[in-house]
């Protein structure tokens, strides 16, 4: 009997067959390589961001710097490329009516799409992290890091913290997935949903830097992209990490439920 996992597997197979999938994954792979190449060719360091001053001492600082850079537009864009397209492309291709007249119900198909979009975002993050660690280590060595509290962290422990940081980074990425899905279901237009998702992320950042709105900063989705820094304080500061979880849930759950309701209840009159 087919289940949502059937839909999930086929969504992944469809992603594998589409060029746009490789665009996002290619960007996630290329950015660390470009960063490391630039480091090799130039003498400076990005001293104005956390861990920026250590990129020449430890390769493990490089994935952390990239996490900060990527939160501005790279990961919202990479995530939106698939999340914003995954429902709207069915409208574009006219295939919604093809799959909705089979034996899977709409809820199962939606669950498959949600999981596939999240899997893609996770894969992009893992790719960027892995390439950044390997390339960074090749450039600057597998050395320990100095934490944000000034304490020394051994290389092996630092690698674990980098992995944990990427895991926590996935929390706001998952919220972006839900927002992308909502826009995809609402607009039924891939370009509008992708751009809309990116615009939402950029708007959040704009709100964060506007004078007089600094009080909203802890509750902005984009702020949660920095929650992983709690791992690099001594002792570990769990507050931003816990806040990231519930703040992101406040964005993800309504968006996810909204996308589900739109998808399940809509009339399929065109696609």
């Amino acid at each position: 009997m087919p289940t949502f996992l059937t839909a999930y597997r086929w969504e992944l197979r469809k992603l594998v067959s589409q060029k746009r999938t490789y665009l996002g994954l290619g960007a996630a792979t290329a950015v660390p390589l470009i960063f490391v190449t630039a480091l090799a060719l130039q003498s400076g360091s990005p001293n104005d961001v956390a861990f920026g001053r250590y990129v020449r001492e430890s390769g493990l600082a490089i994935p952390l710097v990239l996490l900060l850079f990527s939160s501005v537009w790279l990961f919202p864009l990479v995530t939106a490329l698939v999340a914003g397209d995954i429902i709207a492309s069915e409208d574009h291709n006219g295939t919604l009516k093809t799959i909705l007249t089979r034996s899977l119900d709409r809820g199962q198909i939606f669950a498959g799409k949600l999981l596939a979009a999240a899997t893609y975002a996770l894969l992009a993050l893992v790719l960027m992290g892995s390439v950044a660690v390997v390339a960074g280590t090749a450039k600057s060595g597998f050395n320990g890091l100095t934490s944000l509290s000034g304490t020394r962290v051994a290389a092996a422990h630092a690698l674990g913290l980098v992995a944990a940081s990427f895991a926590v980074y996935m929390v706001p990425v998952a919220a972006i997935v839900c927002i992308g899905l909502l826009l995809s279901a609402l607009t039924r237009n891939s370009a509008a949903a992708v751009v809309g998702t990116l615009m939402f992320a950029l708007l959040m950042q704009l709100v964060g830097i506007l004078p007089g709105l600094s009080g909203t900063d802890p509750y902005l989705l984009t702020t949660q992209f920095q929650a992983w820094q709690g791992f690099f304080r001594t002792p570990t500061d769990w507050a931003p990490i816990v806040r990231a979880v519930w703040v992101c849930a406040l964005y993800a759950i309504p968006a996810g439920i909204g996308a589900y309701l739109v998808f399940v209840r809509r009339d399929v009159a065109g696609g």
Partner: protein, 322 residues
């Protein structure tokens, strides 16, 4: 009041209404398709055929009314009501970046059961095996139509809903499609065929419904429909003037001269007496050709007579439909 339908009737719809804002797309459609029917659903573009099929397949929710597929409600039961049902609305659509076979594999996975094991068989049935490995993006319209039929057959349907399956096909493609539909009917599959190709429907279907402006104008046997318009005759005779004078004496209806023939209407008894008289008067009868109305003539008669506006203010529409 309607009687309770038998639970195994493939399609039973009552008072289906679909409104989009002020546009009344379907205005109270009643349909009853029996097992074994090849049922033609005829109407001009925009008459409400596709919207009705979408409602039957559960793709859109009706504003009013109800439908049953083998006794199951597609609006409440969703996919469970589609057991034994397959088909497509408008042109069948597939993922252009996947091959024909992969598209069928996806749909078979969504169907479960033994559908995946039937892919080769259905590709053979629609004669697409040779191109099954090619991306659908490179398929012609006719190939996509055939892939649509293959996708429907994967479900081993007892009821096929086909929306304009002949559209865009070349003559050979149309012939193949008709052969395919006949073959499926011979296998016991009930077919609900939406079309505006009158000749094909007349050839393929045993029953029809004619819809215009969202309302059913006629529903019943094709033969009854054509008989309802009566029979007339074309007569070729050795002396057409004398034959026409005799016709006037017999007060035959609709008498007219056309292309060297005499055209008239008469019942069988009157026709018999007329022929005997022609013989007695030594007027040679060279040919007597009975003529029936074609479905196309009846269709235009019904739809052009129907003048209801398609857009109406929100109002209880079910009562408007007789």
């Amino acid at each position: 009041m309607h009687e309770e339908p038998p639970h195994d009737r493939p399609v039973e719809a009552r008072g289906l209404v679909k409104r989009y804002g002020r546009l009344l797309a379907v205005a109270g459609v009643d349909l009853a398709v029996d097992a074994g029917d090849v049922y033609g659903f005829l109407g001009p573009n925009g008459a409400g055929k596709t919207t009705t099929l979408r409602m039957l397949l559960g793709l859109i929710t009706p504003t009013e009314g109800e439908a049953r597929l083998f006794g199951r409600d597609p609006f409440r039961l969703g996919r469970r009501a589609l057991e034994g049902v397959a088909g497509f609305v408008e042109a069948p659509q597939f993922y252009p970046y996947l091959s024909g076979r992969m598209n069928l594999e996806l749909l078979a996975a969504f169907d479960g059961g033994g559908a995946a094991g039937r892919i080769g068989e259905v590709l053979d049935t629609v004669e697409l095996s040779d191109r099954a490995g090619d991306r659908v993006g490179g398929y012609s319209h006719g190939m996509r139509q055939r892939l649509g039929i293959a996708a429907a057959l994967l479900r081993r349907p007892r009821l096929l809903l086909l929306d304009e399956p002949h559209t865009g096909l070349d003559p050979a493609g149309m012939r193949d499609m008709k052969t395919l539909i006949r073959g499926l009917s011979a296998q016991g599959i009930t077919v609900l065929l939406s079309s505006h190709q009158m000749a094909d429907v007349e050839e393929l279907c045993n029953r029809v419904a004619i819809i215009n402006r969202g309302r059913i104008l006629y529903q019943g046997d094709v033969a009854s429909l054509t008989r309802s318009m009566g029979t007339w005759y074309r007569l070729r005779a050795s002396d057409l003037d004398a034959a026409q004078r005799t016709a006037a004496e017999f007060e035959l209806a609709d008498v007219a001269r056309e292309d060297g023939e005499l055209r008239f209407s008469a019942d069988e008894e009157l026709l018999e007496r007329f022929m005997i008289t022609l013989g007695r008067r030594r007027i040679g009868v060279r040919a007597l050709i009975p003529q029936h109305a074609t479905l196309e003539q009846l269709f235009f008669e019904l739809t052009e007579r129907d003048g209801a506006p398609p857009e109406v203010p929100a109002a209880p529409v079910a009562e408007e439909v007789a």
